[in-house]
């Protein structure tokens, strides 16, 4: 198992390097200009000077290698010195800086991560907690009223876009009823009951929307997987042995049905971290998703490059984790 993991990790290094170069190349070929958003009154010569100061005129390979050096060498060294308090090498080494804010990209991401993790990962957890029982029971009572209701709600969760649902919720719960705020306050720090309550109130609407979507998706997988397993011979055997229905469904069928669902859940996690771009935009959560979208709009290449690369890392990583989980859950699968 360990050798398998190490081998897979070693393989992922060239894959990631290739991905990072491909992203860089794509960004470079896209017609984009970080000075495009400047007011019209700023003359072209000034824009040209600014582009030069940002280093846009340098050859592609130089810029790519510079990014690699800053991201793979300087950033880890900085992180290490922050962590240990020791200094490694030149403390003034250049970090990956955003073109729009001139701040280190890693710090921008660190600013944005808490709200994305809070809102999006909580909605993922809640979504899973809803999806599994719903999927199991819907399959067990296939064509029953619960199954129909479950299917109906998942269809809504799947098909109604969050930019519509989000605005409807704001109009009802923020404008008419005044229960929840429509703008997420990222400066809020939880220090006591009041602030905890405020934090929960501002999370209710975005978490509900995202949880509904996640639950809809995962419950359909769970239901399908359960239906497939319910008709297997081992289920009849378990019943023949005199096992209780509860034991048959939960210990035998559900456990076996979880296998493909675990893969779906694991592969969905990178998307969680990539943020829910639209929901973040509607509730002004300003997490990772909002950072990515605003950077694309302003042609902020270093931020887009770093973020997309981090997503690539997460996808490769969670693919590996899904494979490992598979091996652990299914004794028939062995990687050695």
């Amino acid at each position: 198992m360990l050798t398998y993991c190490l081998r897979r990790l070693a393989f992922s290094v060239p894959v990631l390097i290739f991905i990072s170069f491909a992203i860089f190349l794509l960004m470079d070929m896209a017609p984009n200009d970080p000075t495009a958003n400047l007011p019209m009154s700023i003359p072209s010569e000034t824009r040209a000077q600014l582009r030069e100061a940002l280093g846009i005129g340098d050859p592609l390979v130089t810029r790519y290698l510079l990014w690699c050096k800053q991201f793979f060498i300087h950033e880890p060294l900085n992180w290490l010195s922050d962590l240990t308090g020791l200094s490694f090498g030149d403390p003034d080494r250049l970090r990956v800086l955003s073109w729009a804010s001139r701040a280190p990209v890693v710090e921008l991401i660190a600013d944005r991560l808490p709200q994305t993790l809070w809102v999006v990962s909580l909605s993922y957890v809640i979504g899973i907690l809803i999806a599994l029982p719903v999927g199991i029971y819907s399959a067990y009572r296939q064509h029953g009223w619960f199954d129909h209701l479950g299917s109906f709600i998942s269809m809504i969760g799947y098909s109604v876009p969050s930019f519509f649902l989000g605005v409807v919720m704001i109009v009802i719960f923020a404008v008419k009823l005044n229960w929840f705020p429509s703008v997420y306050d990222t400066t809020l720090t939880v220090t006591g009951w009041d602030s905890l309550l405020a934090q929960l109130r501002q999370m209710v609407m975005p978490v509900t929307i995202l949880a509904l979507y996640n639950a809809a998706q995962i419950s359909r997988y769970m239901r399908a997987s359960m239906l497939e397993n319910l008709h297997h011979d081992y289920v009849r055997t378990a019943r023949a042995k005199g096992a209780s229905e509860r034991r048959v469904v939960l210990a035998h069928v559900a456990r076996n049905s979880l296998l493909p669902v675990v893969t779906v859940i694991a592969l969905g996690i990178p998307q969680v971290l990539a943020g829910a771009i639209i929901t973040e935009q509607i509730f002004k959560i300003n997490g990772i998703g909002a950072l990515l979208i605003s950077s694309i709009q302003s042609g902020d290449l270093p931020v887009v490059q770093t973020l997309t690369f981090l997503f690539a890392v997460l996808i490769v990583l969670f693919n590996l984790l899904a494979d490992i989980a598979y091996g652990l859950l299914d004794p028939r699968i062995s990687y050695d």
Binding site: P31, Q49, I170, V183
Partner: protein
Amino acid sequence: MPPVFKHIPLAALSVSAFTTAAYAERGAQGDLNLIYWQAPTLLNPYLASGPKDSEPASLVLEPLARHDETGKMVPWLAQAIPTLDNGGIAADLQSITWVLKPGIMWSDGSEFTADDVVFTANYCMDAESGCQMTAKFTDVEKVEALDPHTVKISFSKPKPYPYAPFVGLEIPVLQAAQFADCMGPNALNCSAQNLAPIGTGPYQITDFKPGDVVTYDINPHYRDGDKPGFAKVTIKGGGDASGAARAVLETGEFDYAWNLQLDPQVLAQMKSAGKGQVVSSFGTAVERLQVNLTNSAADLGDARSTRDGGAHPFLADPRVTKALSLAIDRSTLIDIAYGDAGRPTCDVLAAPAIYASGANDACLTQDLNAARALLDEAGWTDTDGDGIRDKDGVSMTMLYQTSVNPVRQTTQDLLKAWWAEIGVAAELRAIAPSVFFGGDQSSPDTYQKFYADLEMFTNFFPGNDPEPYLNNWACTAIPTPENGWSGMNVPRYCDPDYDAMLAKLGNTVDIEERIAISKQLNDMLMQAGALIPLVHRGEVSAHANSLEGVRMNVWDSELWNIADWTRAK
């Protein structure tokens, strides 16, 4: 309530006058929440990407003089506006001398002096710094401190309007001590300084998350002991204009929302919730059609959209552009797409009011018959019966491009329909703003390459001197392949008379004469059909009913007088 209140006579007028004064106590108004849906990303206006950054910075950084809400210059860090009469401007017009107010402190407690002003000038004039305000320092030869409170700016040639450096929102004074290590190429890498500049303004930055939120508290060394009223200010970013408007007008979570260019009906409906009001102010911005006077046919190759490629087959005829302009119903366009944020105009120099020509106002009323007659007169008739006019095998079909923006696409649709009525066809195109307004040499879709017949965007000039703006249409400002498609003369208009008149403007000091020449230049552009002005655009913001003291200002920062803002009791 202070005890002195008892001695005030109970006449209603004086009581109400006094209540304002009684509340004018530093920090007594609590918290103020503003929403800038385009989030600030950088708080150094010299490197910033527009008002979304420089306005939040204006709470901290201040210039020597600002413009008030009527566009008038008011001294800010300076004692008075230098003029020829008070000797602040030299008789040869080659220098201007600013005298600073005494006793002004930076928020870190150090003294503000003329050296800071000199430093800031040198900081921006360094070509390697990436400073975006270099145009403000055009012809500046030297900036020197005569004594700790006097700054002299010398120009290399006589400057009839010497108020470009250090007047207005975009060119405040930076603290020399803080930015000392940020000269030249280091300017862009000074993250800590650029994200949290130290200033002389009413507030200081306590926390800034780029692209998300800025929080401020009171600058303890602010010069006026009774101000500012609000103790804490938060500027939140993110989302879109309608979400920002909703947060002020419908839910009341925020006190002020900036830049609300929204469908007029949507805004009116939100306003009816009764929680806030919409304010607008008109500056110099005009949404206009740029007419390509040169041929943009693709088969011309490198000569495409250049004067070498020849004149446009029909748009170079002023009768045609006049007909296109007459076919537009500007009032209807504004009702549908702009609401409070627009007024019809036929001049590209529509403001300040003293500069508005008004000689071209015939286009304000739509007249389809007159438009058809003009086209007939120019020889364009529908010979092949396809509904589109033609002449010598050339059909009047135009490619009409602009940036992606709901208001602009609505405008495109309306204009296309009106032109169809006079027998002119338009093919519409919307390009992503970062491409359209970008300077990417390899992209065929930039507004400067102008591989189309018409294009639409807004331009404006900051402050109230139109000379740099009118320079945009000089022959030398035409974008060409040779100059890397730079320059703002997008219509490729070139008239020696216009250039001669521009030169005259550059040497004229008398304000009345400057106004007369500016109007004449505007009229020349209009009569040549180089541009078709559509809408004089205003800035629209909203504030809560409880917020008092807002003097919406398009000439400077909207937050220019934030120190005076109070909460109604």
